[in-house]
Structure formats: structure tokens, C-alpha cells
């Protein structure tokens, strides 16, 4: 088998292509169930997350299917109104808190942060396992809430509906989210300290791969933002159970206060979902263009800028609540500030591709998909930062389409790119490029088919969270439901060919895509339990393809 490796003059390398097939690695050094359940190895914990969040994704996806099926016709005929309301609530909660937020950080962050910075593990391996079990416990509590009868408040839990009027299992769900929130906080804390304290010799801040910058910015948001939602849910619980007036005006509370607190976390939470995908895209584009990332420092800083700006734009979710018009103007202006670093990233990626040597592996196809959907998602955000148009579009399907473009189009495309890119490293196997590219293509087409019509629906005025709707909206809803079936095929395909590859795929060498970061150049595929044979020493910036002689390596 001939493949491209890079002769490294940089790292203290020990082979052109590291390792051999029969090496002991983190997957096969111990096969017992207990060795998985009590593992302190960040790589195994990453895989535990992968399995668990995939199950949650399937559940959230099934609920999305039920929602789209109901919306095929204007009348309520498939579900009852209450079941529909519980379905979209559960869809939102599961997809956001139990899939998107832990997706890249918990699965790939865990697997990659130590590998990419030349460390043996994260700073606190036991805390890391504890975070996983917190996530698991939170999931069990949330699923219990669903099995008991579900929650009908919407994932936003707006008061006083959630605190006084809803007759569903709000408290149980809030406890589940409270617990899973701590998983997120502790994971963020662990990564921040790992990146600060455990970089290998020579790996200065500006030699870090951009994925690490993305995960670092994400971790800061997780650490600073999540406590606010925990406290907010706690206050909601106190009002609901003890009748202490905090949000319900009948008890002397303020319902808008809840929205401020809720969005103070939940807006930055969007950046928890998207920042890691931005980091992944930088890695994938560099590797598949075989070129350094254009404007490395600016891209690194723009991740930090997005994380910081993310904390000062929350009230743009509240332009129609009757907040002061002056506050609305300030928040509108601040919201535009997020557009600038996002735009810089997109243009810098284009400049990275310019003059490159671009190959079209499955991860790159997913990254192209990401670029397209993230651009549309970002552009439609401008309609919502602009006050004059937001009033009309707020709480309509335009919003639904916009955030799905960012969080499903953007974040999940990035996640899929990442899973495909690092799969050979995680499993030591290659998947079928044919099925991989086909699934990326189907996902992209199905996604646009599903969500683009919703922009028009929103402009026509269809409110979100409607179980029944006026007849004039049916045509576009039929389009959207039809698209969702295509999208489902795109998402389900990897669930077949990836497990197949895990057991029967062709063996991968240590660096099948010609990546330039430590996990490719200095470890085997899959890595050994302790990651590196020898602590790597880094002497230059990442993505220095031009400093190396390409060599065709056979083995």
C-alpha cells in the first residue's frame, strides 16, 4: 500500500509511519467490560461519549421525524397537541444539551486534546471519568422525565408557563439538565487546565493546532456560562415547588428576568456548539489543501473574540419582549460584532485553499458542506441582528431555519467532518470513501431541502411551535418534510458504514491523510494506551508543509 507520509525534520520522530499492525493499542490492551467502564484513558472516555451521544442523537432524530410528519398536513392528525408540544421540547433538549453541546468537545476534545498537545492524558483523568458519569446520570434523569410523561414547556422553559402553568415533569427535567451542566463545566475546566499546563516542550500557544484554540475558547464558555443556567433552573425549581416569587408576576416576580438569565447562558451555548466545528474546519482544510492555514493568529483570536462577544449579545433573543428600544439598539450593534470574526474565518479558509494542493477525501467534502451551510446560517443571522427585520421574523420559522443552519448545518457537518477525519486515528481503520462522500452529499442536499423552505415560511409569517397551521403554509411544509426524509438517509448511512469499518475496514496507517499535527506525526493508529513513546518536542508552527520534503512511503 502506498501512501503519503511527511518526512518530519521537526519532531523527534521515531518512524516515517509510526507503529505496526500488531502493536498493543488503547483499544486492545484490555478487553474487559470493566476496563471500559472504569477507564481513566481520555481516548476510551471519548469513545464512551461517542456511543452515548450517538444514541441520544438517534432519539432526538426520531422525535424530529415525528414533528416533520405531523407538519405534513395543516390539521393535527398524527400526534395530539400535547404530544406534539412534548415532542418538540424533547427534540430540542436532547439535541442541544445531550448531543450538540457534548458532541465535539466531549468526544473529539477528549480523544484529541492530549494527543494534539503531546500529553499523556488530560490534567484530571478521574474528574474526566466523573464528568462522563455525570453526563450519563443527567441523560438517565432526562429520559426518566420523558418516560414519566415528558415536558411541554419548549426547551426554553419560559416562565411563568414553566414555573406555574405547565402540568408536566419540569422539575425532573431541570434536575437532569442541572446534572449534565456540571458534566459540561468540569469538562471545560479539565481542558483549560490541560491546555495551560500539559503542552509538550516547545509547544507554545501560537504553535497550537487551531482545533485546540477552538476547544479552549469553547471550554471557557462552558466554564463561565453553564453555572448561570444551573442557577436559573434552580430558581425555576424553587418557584415551582415552593412558590417563592421570582419569575411569576402573581408572586411578585418578573418573567422577563428569566429570559435574561436563560439567554445569558443559552446564547453562548450556541458558540459551545459551533466553535469546535470552526476549529475542525481549520484542521481539515489545512490537511486536505496540504498548506498552512492563512492568518493563523487571526483565526485563533477570532475564536476567542467569538467566545467573548457571545456573552454580550444575549438580549437579541428578546427584541419583541418590550425591552427598552435603546437596549435593543445596543444589542443589535453588538450582535453584528459576531459577524466580523466569523467572516474573517471563512475568508481565511478560502485563502488557505488558494494555491493549495486540494484532495477530496470524505472529511473535506463534509468541510465544504460545513462552509456552505455555515455561510448561509451566518448570512441569515444578519436579518435577525437588524432590528427592523427581526421584529417580523422573530419567533417564526425563519428563526427555526436560521439556527438549524448554524447548529445542525454548521455544528453537525463539522462534527461529521471531525469523526471522518480522525476515525482512522480513533479506530485504526479506514471507512469506505465512496459511502462517506455519498453520505456527505446526501446530507447537504437533504439539509437544504428541509430547512431552506422554512426561511420563506418564516417570512410569510408562520409562527414556530405550531401544531396546526393555516392552509397557505402547506406547500412549503411538504417540501420541508420531504427534505427531512433525505436528510435522515444522509445521517443514517454513517451508522452502517462506520461500525462496519470498525470491525472489517482496511487497516489505516498512522497518518493516512498527511496531517501535520502531533496526533498524526507522533502516534500510531490507534494510539498506544499512553499516547506517545517519547514526549514530543515541537520546534515550529503547525501546518508547516512547505518546510518538509514530501516522500512516498511504502509499508
Amino acid at each position: 500500500m502506498a501512501t503519503v507520509g511527511l518526512e518530519s525534520k521537526t519532531f523527534e520522530k521515531f518512524a516515517d509511519v509510526v507503529g505496526h499492525d500488531d502493536d498493543l493499542n488503547y483499544l486492545n490492551h484490555d478487553h474487559s467490560v470493566l476496563s471500559w467502564l472504569f477507564t481513566l484513558d481520555h481516548k476510551r472516555i471519548g469513545l464512551l461519549y461517542l456511543v452515548t451521544i450517538t444514541l441520544m442523537f438517534l432519539l432526538g432524530g426520531a422525535l424530529a421525524g415525528a414533528i416533520r410528519l405531523e407538519l405534513l398536513t395543516p390539521k393535527g392528525d398524527f400526534l395530539t397537541a400535547d404530544t406534539y408540544n412534548k415532542a418538540f421540547t424533547a427534540h430540542g433538549i436532547i439535541m442541544l444539551f445531550f448531543f450538540l453541546i457534548p458532541s465535539i468537545p466531549a468526544v473529539l476534545g477528549n480523544f484529541l486534546v492530549p494527543l494534539m498537545i503531546g500529553a499523556k492524558d488530560v490534567a484530571f483523568p478521574r474528574l474526566n471519568l466523573f464528568s462522563y458519569y455525570l453526563y450519563f446520570a443527567g441523560s438517565v434523569i432526562a429520559l426518566t422525565a420523558l418516560l414519566l410523561g415528558g415536558v411541554d414547556t419548549g426547551w426554553t422553559f419560559y416562565t411563568p408557563f414553566s414555573s406555574t402553568y405547565s402540568n408536566s415533569y419540569v422539575i425532573v427535567m431541570a434536575v437532569g439538565l442541572f446534572v449534565v451542566g456540571f458534566s459540561s463545566i468540569l469538562t471545560g475546566l479539565n481542558f483549560i487546565i490541560t491546555v495551560h499546563r500539559m503542552r509538550c516542550p516547545g509547544l507554545t500557544w501560537f504553535r497550537l493546532p487551531l482545533f485546540i484554540w477552538g476547544i479552549y475558547a469553547t471550554s471557557v464558555v462552558q466554564l463561565l456560562g453553564t453555572p448561570v443556567i444551573a442557577v436559573t433552573l434552580g430558581l425555576l425549581g424553587v418557584e415551582r415547588t415552593l412558590g417563592v416569587g421570582i419569575f411569576d408576576p402573581r408572586l411578585g416576580g418578573d418573567p422577563i428576568l428569566f429570559q435574561h438569565l436563560f439567554w445569558f447562558y443559552s446564547h453562548p451555548a450556541v458558540y459551545i456548539m459551533i466553535l469546535p466545528s470552526l476549529g475542525v474546519t481549520s484542521e481539515v482544510i489545512a490537511t486536505f489543501s496540504r498548506k498552512n492555514v492563512f492568518g493563523y493568529h487571526i483565526i485563533a483570536f477570532s475564536s476567542i473574540a467569538i467566545a467573548v462577544f457571545g456573552f454580550i449579545v444575549w438580549a437579541h433573543h428578546m427584541f419583541t419582549t418590550g425591552i427598552s428600544p435603546y437596549a435593543a439598539m445596543v444589542f443589535s450593534l453588538l450582535t453584528f460584532s459576531v459577524a466580523i470574526p466569523s467572516g474573517i474565518k471563512v475568508f481565511s479558509w478560502l485563502a488557505t485553499m488558494y494555491g493549495g494542493s486540494i484532495s477530496f477525501g470524505t472529511p473535506m467534502i463534509y468541510a465544504f458542506g460545513f462552509l456552505g451551510l455555515f455561510t448561509i446560517g451566518g448570512m441569515t443571522g444578519l436579518f435577525l441582528s437588524t432590528l427592523g427585520t427581526d421584529i417580523h421574523l422573530h419567533d417564526t420559522y425563519f428563526i427555526v431555519a436560521h439556527f438549524h443552519y448554524i447548529m445542525v448545518g454548521g455544528a453537525i457537518m463539522g462534527y461529521m467532518a471531525a469523526i471522518h477525519y480522525w476515525w482512522p486515528k480513533m479506530t485504526g481503520r479506514l471507512y469506505s470513501e465512496f459511502w462517506g462522500k455519498l453520505s456527505a452529499g446526501i446530507t447537504f442536499i437533504g439539509f437544504n431541502f428541509t430547512f431552506f423552505p422554512q426561511f420563506i415560511l418564516g417570512y410569510l409569517g408562520m409562527p414556530r411551535r405550531y401544531y396546526e397551521y393555516p392552509d397557505e403554509f402547506q406547500v412549503l411544509n411538504v417540501f420541508s418534510t420531504a427534505g427531512a426524509t433525505i436528510l435522515a438517509v444522509g445521517y443514517l448511512m454513517p451508522l452502517v458504514y462506520m461500525p462496519y469499518s470498525f470491525f472489517f475496514g482496511e487497516k489505516a496507517n498512522s497518518n493516512p491523510y498527511g496531517g501535520s499535527t502531533l496526533e498524526w506525526t507522533n502516534t500510531t493508529s490507534p494510539p498506544s494506551p499512553h499516547n506517545f513513546e517519547k514526549t514530543p518536542v515541537v520546534t515550529e508552527e503547525p501546518y508547516h508543509y512547505h518546510a518538509k520534503e514530501a516522500a512516498v512511503v511504502s509499508h
Binding site: 408540544n85 466580523i340 485553499m353 456552505g372 437588524t386 512547505h546
Partner: protein, 342 residues
């Protein structure tokens, strides 16, 4: 299914064309940028596809003019959108001073509307063409949202406070009125119609089957709820005279029982009057003791709107005399929950 379909929403208010023009501008700009990114991505992918496995491209670390360009040009575009957006937004949120006023109360799951002339309707709002209309909104239970897509206006309806929106209809017809803030089981059935009529038709509609005017209903409540016992408007008064106070700046002495700086004033709008009825202790008029009982639970949101409409219309010397049908408010005095304020 296809016959009702349309690509563009009705455009039936004065602000609708402004919103649509701004919308069109953003569509043009964003489609251009998206097309640019798409063409460059695909173009680069083809032009710079890998031709040789051994080729390592030359590095490109940065290009200051290019980077300044793709930072400053978007900043400029954003500032244009922001400013234009603020201009349109001002027109959406600031009602003209001469707007006629209508009141709407949202509850799970219906809209109850009162016209000053006394007409009341449910899930329907009749308005005349060509006159600015301000709708004052509140909710009896959870948060709702009063949304009329054909007018491009939308305002959340929050319990415990008043919010408002305004519009001036430009085209006769029937338009959708949606609740667009999720409010529970039948959220999607909290739909009404806005019927825009010619002025003459509207006047005709108003005169048909109207009960007595909203302010008159309020006048009855003013005596029935014992307001008149203390707010007598004469020398025996135990409470401030309410004649002509609407939209005046009133000096106050205490906020929530705490003495505040002399000369502090509060603007006596709908929200202040509502607050003073439900939480008399919240902002106490200077020179008066806080002896008023709360009316929480004794008056509905609709009745509150009627009392406010009455106080609004109450001019100098118009406070009604207390009559025998309105005995001393013993019941209310007994359950006075207010603590003595120092």
C-alpha cells in the same frame, strides 16, 4: 394546497413596505456574499485540485491589505444594516401621538379585545384603514405574543405589565393574527383575524351592538370597587385626586415603603396606574399615607383596563359623588394587607 400558496406575505400597513425594502437590501447583499463564497470555494477546489502527490504548495501566511479589506468591508455593510434597521425599528415601535387606542388581553388560548367605544370581541380585531392604531396588551396567565405578519408587527404580551404595538393599516381585508410565543397546549389555535375596514364601515360596525363605552364601564367599577370612597376629589379625600393625572409627572415619596429623595416624580401612564391598583405600596404619591388596599385578585385584567380608561378620561371636577350603593368598604378595610409605612 396550491391555490392558497403565495411567495410573499400581504403588505397591509405603513411599515410593511419599509420592512420589505430593508429585507430586500439584506437579501441582495447576503445572496451576493454567499454566491461569492460558493464560487470561490468551488473555483479553488477545481483550480487547485491535487495534480501531483509529491507537490507541496508554497505557504501563504497572510496579506495585510486583503485582511483589512475583509474586515472593514463587512464592518461597513453591518453598519449600514444596523442604521437602516434602527430607522425602520423606530417607525415600528414609536406610535404617533394621535393613535387611537385599543386594548387586548391574552389568555390561554384566546385574544380578548376592547375598543374604547365599548365594542368587545374575541379572536377578532376590527380596525379602520388609514388611522394609526395603538394596541395596549397584557396577559392573564403566561407570556403570549401579538403578531400580525401582514403588518410586520409583533409584540410579546407579558403578564403583570403592559406592552403595546401600533400600526396603520393601508389595505382593506382580513389578515392573520397569531400568538407567536409558545403558550401551551392550544398555542397553535390562539389565532385571530384582523379585519381592516373603510372608515365608514368601521363606524357602522362600532355602532352595532356596542355595550356602553369602556370608560363608562370603568366609571361603574370606580364606584363599585370603592375607589371613590377615598379618591373623592374634594377636601375630605383620604387619597390623591385622580382628575387629570393621566400622563402627568406625579411627585412620589416612597417606593416599596422606603422613603426616597424629595422631588422624585413618576410618569402616570397605564403601567403606573395598573401598578398602583395592584401594588399600592409600590410608588406612593407624595403627601399621602399608604393606606390603600391591594386589588390583586379582586379585579380582572379586562376590568383594570376599563378603570384605567376611566381615569384617563377623568377631567377636572368629574369625580362622581359616593352613592348609597357604594357603602364604606368594610370588607376591603378588614383585609387590608398593607403594612403601615413610616
Amino acid at each position: 394546497m396550491f391555490e392558497e400558496f403565495k411567495w410573499l406575505p400581504d403588505q397591509a400597513s405603513t411599515v410593511a413596505p419599509e420592512v420589505d425594502m430593508l429585507m430586500l437590501f439584506i437579501v441582495v447583499v447576503t445572496v451576493f456574499i454567499t454566491a461569492l463564497v460558493t464560487v470561490l470555494t468551488l473555483g479553488f477546489a477545481v483550480a487547485f485540485r491535487r495534480k501531483s502527490e509529491s507537490y507541496i504548495p508554497a505557504p501563504w501566511f497572510g496579506c495585510i491589505p486583503l485582511e483589512i479589506g475583509w474586515t472593514l468591508i463587512p464592518v461597513g455593510i453591518c453598519l449600514v444594516m444596523f442604521s437602516w434597521g434602527v430607522k425602520v425599528y423606530s417607525n415600528i415601535v414609536i406610535p404617533p401621538a394621535d393613535a387611537m387606542e385599543i386594548y387586548a388581553v391574552g389568555r390561554q388560548w384566546m385574544w380578548k379585545i376592547q375598543h374604547p367605544e365599548g365594542q368587545r370581541e374575541i379572536n377578532a380585531l376590527h380596525v379602520p384603514i388609514g388611522r394609526p392604531v395603538k394596541v395596549t396588551l397584557t396577559s392573564e396567565d403566561v407570556i403570549h405574543c401579538f403578531s400580525i405578519p401582514a403588518f410586520r408587527v409583533k409584540q410579546d404580551v407579558v403578564p403583570g405589565r403592559y406592552s403595546s404595538l401600533w400600526f396603520q393599516a393601508t389595505k382593506a381585508g382580513t389578515y392573520q393574527l397569531f400568538c407567536s410565543e409558545y403558550c401551551g397546549t392550544e398555542h397553535s389555535r390562539m389565532i385571530g383575524k384582523v379585519i381592516v375596514m373603510e372608515e365608514a364601515d368601521y363606524q357602522k360596525w362600532l355602532s352595532e351592538g356596542a355595550e356602553s363605552g369602556q370608560a363608562l364601564q370603568g366609571r361603574k367599577l370606580y364606584t363599585k370597587l370603592q375607589c371613590v370612597t377615598c379618591h373623592t376629589g374634594n377636601a375630605e379625600a383620604k387619597a390623591p385626586n385622580l382628575e387629570g393625572i393621566y400622563r402627568k409627572h406625579i411627585p412620589i415619596s416612597h417606593i416599596d415603603g422606603v422613603k426616597i429623595k424629595d422631588g422624585t416624580k413618576v410618569f402616570a401612564d397605564d403601567s403606573y396606574i395598573r401598578e398602583s391598583i395592584l401594588y399600592p405600596n409600590a410608588k406612593v404619591a407624595a403627601g399621602w399615607e399608604s393606606i390603600m388596599p391591594t386589588y390583586q385578585g379582586l379585579v380582572t385584567e379586562e376590568e383594570l383596563l376599563q378603570v384605567i380608561a376611566y381615569i384617563k378620561a377623568l377631567n377636572q371636577g368629574q369625580t362622581p359623588p359616593r352613592t348609597e350603593e357604594t357603602p364604606t368598604p368594610a370588607t376591603i378595610q378588614n383585609k387590608n394587607p398593607n403594612k403601615e409605612v413610616n
